[in-house]
Symmetry: C2
Subunit: 241 residues, 2 copies
């Protein structure tokens, strides 16, 4: 829901400059790079299309997708415009093609094995969660500092000493990791992970991580989600619902 970003602020902007003279004729693909909101919806489209396909559908239209989710049909078409598929007028999109294109878009044609750093409650729950493996994110290794979890296995996943982090991820070729350590050691742990070559961190520790530009962070914080929920509940109550 947020990421490392530069902080440049170097005066970009200016320019009423209408940009290049010729915007080109019927540009095939949508030039502008997709925003985070688009990427977020893309994942959800993927699930819906997969589900539709499981239900036996061979094609799906933007209208159908918009009914399955909370977006307008024109939004769906705009979003899918970032993909390499084309829809068929009067028909819609071929489910299989669409799934494939979204996977390509998101970078999901390959498996992304992950490391779990911190094997307490949450780390263990992640290791036991089938959903990750099923969607192409098998957990390849756990790491911890406590002797009583090191060398154990959870759901068949081995827990290594965090001291071996660099060598294990190099050997297993891991690029992304879930950070599940207590907040007070979040930053320093992240630093070590980055030094070891990790490229992406799913951060469950309730701290804002500072990482180099080359590393991506996605934060997951349950208590924030809970607070969003509470706000929505209270607001509805206030509206008399």
């Amino acid at each position: 829901m947020q990421q490392q970003l530069e902080s440049v602020h170097a005066g970009r902007s200016r320019s009423a400059e209408p940009s290049p003279f010729f915007r080109l004729g019927g540009s095939r693909l949508m030039s502008e790079s997709p925003s985070k909101t688009v990427v977020g919806r893309m994942s959800r489209y993927l699930r819906q299309v997969e589900r539709a396909m499981d239900d036996g559908k061979l094609t799906i239209s933007s209208r159908m997708l918009s009914h399955l989710m909370e977006v307008s049909d024109s939004q769906v078409r705009k979003d899918l415009g970032h993909l390499t598929v084309v829809g068929h007028a009067g028909i819609g999109f071929q489910c299989s093609e669409l799934i494939d294109a979204i996977k390509v878009f998101l970078g999901l044609k390959a498996q992304w094995p992950i490391a779990v750093v911190g094997c307490g409650n949450l780390g263990q729950a992640l290791m036991g969660y089938r959903g990750l493996r099923e969607r192409g994110f098998p957990i390849a290794a756990g790491f911890d500092l406590l002797p009583d979890v090191i060398n154990k296995t959870y759901a068949g996943i081995e827990v290594f000493n965090f001291a071996q982090f660099a060598s294990v991820i190099a050997q297993k070729n891991l690029e992304i990791a879930a950070l599940c350590v207590p907040p007070n050691v979040g930053q320093e742990t992240a630093d070590q992970m980055v030094a070891a070559g990790i490229r992406g961190i799913l951060n469950f520790a309730p701290v804002i991580l500072h990482v180099p530009q080359s590393v991506c962070v996605v934060n997951v914080d349950l208590t924030i989600e809970m607070e969003q929920l509470v706000f929505a509940v209270v607001q509805k109550r206030d509206c008399g619902l």
Copy 2:
């Protein structure tokens, strides 16, 4: 990450109307109701201000907050304009006042005990997660259908037969719940929860729930977050970083 919403669209806007002559009168509070993005940032401000206070700071400025997070200082000021506090020119905001105002805004002055429905891997992890209790969301009860978990306790939390859901939440006065059941029974379980009077659902099941307008849903899906991360990683790699 999404919610039931109205569809009103009652035409506000219009008005190139340069508005009244005298803008003065310094309207105290910001009229328009806060959008979801604002609410999301509010939770994060809360954490930062709490942290600053723990670090001994008595006041905090929009500039300081903007450095701690990924927002501009004017954004911070606009956001905090939704609150009932006023900042002090030249100084900033009183941390304690600000924390209080954000809590009022978000509805966090009271505790929000929650029910956990589905006590498998994830449900158990939630019950064992201290962070929720610490932020005012103690887990008051678990529910499941399987005899081998019913009547057990996890981290001191009792697991009831889901058949008793309505009576237990009425007795314990629970309004919100975390839904941690397998996707195939997600909707039907939600239906029963709604019928029992639940007002908000933190949905961990990877399905889109259909609920009445009066009920709020916030979805949490780890695999979607993972996909966002992968996209970001691939994109950075493509940019040569």
